[in-house]
């Protein structure tokens, strides 16, 4: 049994064991152990296969296919039952169409199709499994700490921790399977498992809202799965192949764009682009580890991963233009909506949507430069966003709220947590961190390929982005006075993964020239048969590394000045006489008035309901135009 198979199957075994173990202490130890094993195995498998890549098939694939078919039927049956029982009939309809379709296909047509390589490991796979394995195991470790206090703070939720951990590891297994598989039916199976895991995790708290949101996620993603199935069937029937690698080698023409379009729609649902975004926004009711793992770092990346794989068919084709348009609309509108949000997790959710939109744009523009930017964005976004979600989770634990308006006391509550979230936010948009580099590359890639409107969209989106992140940062550096405060332990299981991820954010930024040289360029060379290109020059890279070093060194150098500062500290200027506590002043007739400082939310301009309505409308029209273009292309 080789490394890759173990990597896929081990989390499955771990999941089963964790589900059965009910004792808290034993289970926590097991989770930490399993997480460590997963991380180590990821590293081993990467080292083993990175240099030359790998591609093979299993001996008894017939058996595997039969097992998968049975499991698919069981899952579909369960989903149909769930839909009917909870009166969410649409999901039952989707599942009822999807399952027979793929079953018919597998039982009749699939027999004649040779699968040469059902597992393929290339450089892109390496990037994905590192993200899944390293970030995933850190998040599982964090969950141990998180769950220690979660049910104490929320006594109204039923405790199902074994279930939660089991689903997390099941999800990891499915994600590994998804990115390692080359057989489209296997990818599809893993895709559906991740959908199901997402449904289970969102519904964890069993509140009315959680139930509705979990069904919304299930419905939209099963609908996407239906599109995926249609795509597979069309490809299998017409092009007689089940392999992703074979598919992407076919020359683009109007006929193949039809199944590609279906696959892209599936990817857009998984990555929650407009008009399919509501499920991701609703998923924020889930406990924070699932938001970090599924809904920012990994599962939603599966959608953009698929689009990256399909990029040879995008670019200047009609499908490429449509997907670019959808990505652009999502990026622009979600960046603007994030300005009006004050719930920390909602801001992170809209930011995730926007950045996924950007990755979608890069992948669908399809040039070597834009794909370079796309993969870099995948890496840096996963790393920064999971750090942010974990930090917000711990902040919620410490101060009892995840509203940005309440985070001005954070510096007094926990200096370390403040530092971690500052690194996370900086990593999302500031020079010289990774996301900025990726956006830079993206802008250059778009203008090089004459995508004028997309460049303008990025310019506006970047402006909106800097506004909402900086105002959040502003709250964190406010250092407001702390009133009565109940101290909560910052568990080591919470802090260690956050700390590790903060290090990864900084290190990955320093290491990005190496990532480019040893991972991205060889991958792009394989896919496009082009020579290496330089997107960001060496002198620029040196200046950026200098900036990063200075960002670390300068604040540290201020510490001696801070410690022996002999400055006279005076009260804040309030235009009325400050009462002395820096929070209130003597107003008219000597009355004491409180000062409250709130951020701007610009709800008149960027209200989510209004913008989402227009965004959904425009993107639905765009997708409709795509269908018309496809039919037109076929008719020619």
């Amino acid at each position: 049994m080789n490394g890759i198979t173990t990597l896929i199957l081990f989390p499955l075994v771990a999941s089963l064991i964790l589900f059965l173990v009910k004792g808290e202490k034993v289970r926590n130890v097991l989770v930490k152990l399993f997480a460590l094993v997963v991380a180590c195995m990821t590293l081993i498998v990467t080292f083993q296969n990175f240099g030359t890549g790998n591609a093979y098939s299993y001996q008894n694939e017939e058996v595997i296919n039969i097992i998968l078919m049975v499991l698919e039927c069981l899952l579909a049956g369960y989903i149909i039952y769930l839909g009917i029982k909870n009166k969410k009939y649409l999901v039952s309809v989707f599942a009822a169409i999807q399952a027979p379709l793929i079953l018919w296909f597998e039982l009749t047509q699939e027999k004649g199709l040779e699968v040469e390589n059902s597992i393929v490991f290339d450089k892109l796979t390496a990037v994905m499994i590192l993200i899944i394995g390293i970030l995933g195991s850190l998040i599982c470790l964090y969950t141990v700490g998180y769950m220690k206090w979660y049910h104490n703070h929320h006594k109204e939720y039923k405790e199902r921790k074994s279930f939660f951990f089991a689903v997390l590891f099941l999800f990891l297994s499915a994600m590994f399977g998804l990115v390692l598989s080359n057989n489209l039916t296997w990818i599809y199976f893993c895709w559906e498992i991740t959908t199901f895991c997402s449904y289970l995790l969102i519904g964890y708290t069993k509140t009315e809202e959680a139930k509705n949101n979990s069904f919304r996620a299930l419905t939209i993603n099963v609908g996407g799965g239906l599109c995926f199935a249609i795509g597979i069937v069309l490809i299998g029937l017409k092009y007689k192949t089940l392999e992703m690698s074979v598919l992407t080698a076919i020359q683009p023409d109007s006929a193949i764009l039809v199944p590609v379009f279906f696959l892209c729609v599936a990817a857009l649902t998984k990555s929650a682009q407009l008009p399919f975004s509501s499920w991701l926004l609703g998923a924020m009711v889930a406990p924070t580890p699932s938001s970090a793992l599924l809904h920012s770092a990994t599962m939603v990346k599966a959608g953009v991963y698929l689009i990256i794989r399909l990029s040879p068919f995008l670019g200047t084709t009609s499908v490429g233009a449509i997907v670019t348009a959808v990505g652009s609309i999502t990026f622009l509108l979600c960046s603007l909506i994030a300005i009006s949000q004050s719930d920390g997790k909602k801001i992170l959710a809209y930011s995730t949507l926007a950045n996924l939109g950007l990755i979608v744009i890069c992948a669908s523009v399809g040039t070597t430069e834009s794909l370079w930017a796309a993969i870099l964005l995948v890496i840096f976004h996963a790393v920064s966003k999971s750090l942010l979600f974990l930090s917000v989770g711990s902040i919620e634990h410490q101060i009892g709220s995840r509203n940005v308006e309440d985070m001005d006391v954070l510096l007094k509550v926990s200096k370390r947590l403040s530092l971690y979230i500052m690194i996370g936010i900086a990593g999302m948009f500031l020079a010289p961190f990774g996301m900025l580099i990726s956006k830079w590359a993206a802008m250059k890639a778009f203008i090089d390929s004459n995508h004028i409107l997309t460049v303008v969209v990025i310019a506006f989106g970047s402006a909106a982005t800097l506004f909402y992140w900086t105002k959040w940062l502003g709250k964190i550096v406010s250092n407001a006075n702390l009133k009565k405060f109940k101290k909560h332990t910052f568990f080591i299981e919470e802090e260690a993964p956050i700390f590790a991820q903060a290090i990864i954010v900084v290190a990955s930024c320093l290491a990005f020239p190496l990532i480019s040289k040893y991972v991205l360029m060889p991958y792009l060379k394989e896919v496009f048969q082009t020579e290496s290109f330089v997107l960001i020059g060496a002198s620029d890279i040196k200046i950026m590394i200098f900036m990063l070093v200075m960002l670390i060194v300068l604040p540290i150098s201020f510490i001696p000045f801070y410690k022996q500062s002999k400055r006279r500290i005076v009260p804040i200027y309030m235009a009325g006489e400050n009462t002395g506590d820096n929070e209130s002043f003597y107003g008219a007739s000597g009355e004491v008035r409180q000062v409250e400082l709130h951020n701007w939310y610009l709800k008149d301009y960027f209200k989510s309901t209004k913008l989402l309505f227009w965004g959904n409308l425009v993107s639905i029209v765009t997708l409709g135009a795509g269908i018309i273009l496809l039919i037109g292309g076929l008719a020619k």
């Binding site: 830079w440 004459n450 460049v455 310019a459 800097l466 620029d540 006279r568 500290i569 235009a575």
Partner: protein, 286 residues
């Protein structure tokens, strides 16, 4: 050699910026029928500020100003040595964000309002600045300023729309009416001193010096559009910079401060229209 150039830029740029600020004050005064201060007044002001006691509201808010100065200086060095204009813009954004964070970190009401307004100003002009850099790359084939001004044709020939947009947002960058709602340079401010309310003495002096660098950076952006290989265009570029600066002074004196709603809407509208039209027309010729 490189070290000498860097040191030269670091020392000379604020002197030029300060001088320009002084000239601004004299011309403004004459427009208002006053005598005006001596041209070197900004330098006298900074020297006076450095001698004053620096009081603070907490121990940390001044360090953001030092960080801001560092990155603004870095931006100036990158720009004036012909470096990558997009990297310079990102470094400038970093410096400006530290300035904004300084305003937040004092937790003081007028400072807080000023910081939000400053951030709003940044959001208003950022798209135009990015589009200007992209436009320059599109026509001149490089992001590096030394290459942009080393071509045969000045960029403004191909980018008239974007140039006009740049002049529009220059008012934001030079902190002039009608778009100076974050801090009061001239003492006519409804949020007291806005983002600089809680700074005094040495820190206020550093803020002043940072703004001198920013004047040079803003005018360099204008310069880059007009200069090219021939010396005539370089001379012309200096003239255009002077005219643009004079235009900003006129606008400053002619208009009252507008609200942030107008600032944001007008800046974004102008950016979108001029940016898209200019670039689309260019893309047809490519």
């Amino acid at each position: 050699m490189l070290i000498l150039m860097v040191i030269g830029i670091i020392i000379l740029a604020p002197l030029v910026g300060g001088l320009l600020t002084g000239i601004d004050r004299v011309i403004t005064a004459r427009m208002q029928g006053r005598q005006g201060p001596p041209v070197l007044q900004p330098f006298y002001d900074v020297i006076k500020l450095l001698q004053k006691e620096s009081i603070a509201v907490n121990l940390t808010h001044r360090f953001y100003i030092y960080l801001s100065l560092f990155f603004v200086v870095l931006t100036t060095v990158v720009m004036l040595s012909g470096g990558d204009i997009l990297l310079a813009i990102f470094a400038l954004t970093l410096g400006s964000i530290f300035f904004v964070l300084g305003g937040y970190s004092s937790h003081s009401p007028f400072s807080h309002v000023g910081a939000e307004r400053e951030l709003m100003q940044m959001m208003a002009y950022e798209p135009m600045v990015l589009i200007a850099a992209i436009g320059l790359y599109y026509v001149q084939g490089s992001f590096f300023i030394k290459n942009i001004i080393g071509t045969n044709t000045p960029a403004i020939i191909y980018l008239p729309g974007i140039f006009i947009g740049l002049i529009y947002i220059l008012t934001f960058k030079l902190r002039k009416s009608p778009f100076d709602f974050s801090m009061g340079h001239h003492g006519h401010q409804e949020v007291v001193q806005g983002i600089t309310t809680e700074y005094s003495g040495k820190d206020l002096a550093i803020i002043e010096i940072t703004h001198w660098y920013e004047v040079v950076i803003a005018l360099t952006l204008v310069f880059v559009f007009v200069a090219s290989k021939s010396t005539l265009t370089v001379v012309l570029a200096f003239v255009v910079c002077a005219l643009a600066y004079f235009l900003e002074i006129v606008i400053d004196n002619a208009f009252a401060r507008m609200k942030w709603q107008f600032a944001l809407k007008s800046a974004w509208l102008i950016t979108a229209v001029l940016g898209i039209v200019n670039l689309l027309i260019l893309s047809f010729f490519k």
